[in-house]
Amino acid sequence: MFDYARGVEQKLERIFRELERDAAAALRAEGFATSQQRHERSLGLRYKGQSFELTIKQSGKGIAADFHRAHRERYGYSQESNIVEIVNARLRSTGLVEKVAERKTRADKRGRGEKASRVVKAFIDGKELRVQVYQRSELPAGARLRAPCIVTEYSATTLIPPGARAKVDEYGNLILVLEKTR
């Protein structure tokens, strides 16, 4: 920790360069080329005498001016005559990954009805019914399911209640339209 004074910027520049060097090496070790890295610098600042910092990004208008403005925005006032303390220098480094492409689900061109994997007995609203059970991964895009039925998958079970309509969209989402509450 040191008081704000001339020459601090150069010292901070050295500290940030050092942090960026370490972060770049760590990201490179994980397979991110220099062009796939983003480094964001920020400073933890407070007035001398306070115990809590505000984390701010430098705008280039001067550290103290940035802090006075941030303190005014956050707390409603600033103390221009007080000393601004730099408590820490932070670097947030991100490895940029390509966005996963949206994958469309195959459509069933033959347009035949969905095949239930099995039929089970289920109690719905106190009534015993025989309902179809579908495997979610087997459902093609455009499939329409007749309610009531059950859709199972590795991580979830979806009950499509009587009166609802269910359809599989081109991305494999299950779109349910529930009957209006009577």
């Binding site: 005498g49 306070q50 115990s51 809590f52 303190h71």
Partner: protein
């Protein structure tokens, strides 16, 4: 009296309590006195325009219990205007021990219509002629060394008059 369903009541209870909690957080995070920033010897609450408690922070019972009397005293003596803060520590005006200074400020919503009042109180605001950060009024033997009570009728009540 307007009736609230339990869900709405709980949402508003949490909403106003969070206001008092956030007042406390702002006070602590900006404080210079160890009594506030380390010991957390402060309390905040939200009142309606008539000075009735709406919500309290999870703070000091001794402050919160007497704060309605301090707010009542402030409202009785001062016609609060936007920007005004009433400061008091007089035990006969809802104060506790003299180092506790209570600040009462109005909140205006809907273009100037008075809607509520908030108060906060904490130990450690340096009181006149008292050693810095002391928790007790100074030596009672010498009247010149005693902490002076601030009442809502003291002259120093307009925000602009505090440095």
């Amino acid at each position: 009296m307007k009736q609230f369903d339990p869900t709405t009541l709980e949402i508003y209870r949490a909403l106003y309590t969070s206001v008092a909690e956030e007042m406390g957080i702002a006070l602590r995070r900006t404080a210079f006195s160890p009594n506030i920033k380390e010991r957390r010897d402060y309390s905040c609450a939200v009142f309606d325009a008539r000075g009735r408690v709406i919500a309290q922070g999870d703070h000091m019972p001794v402050h919160l219990g007497s704060m309605p009397m301090a707010v009542a005293s402030a409202l009785r003596h001062i016609n609060l205007q936007p920007g005004d803060i009433v400061a008091l520590n007089d035990p006969f005006a809802g104060g506790t021990h003299l180092p506790d200074v209570t600040l009462v400020m109005g909140v205006w919503l809907n273009e100037g219509k008075g809607e509520g009042v908030k108060g906060n109180r904490g130990t450690g605001k340096r009181s006149p002629r008292c050693s810095p950060l002391s928790l007790f009024p100074c030596s009672p033997q010498s009247s010149s060394s005693r902490t002076a009570p601030i009442t809502p009728t003291s002259a120093e009540r307009r925000l602009g008059q505090w440095d």
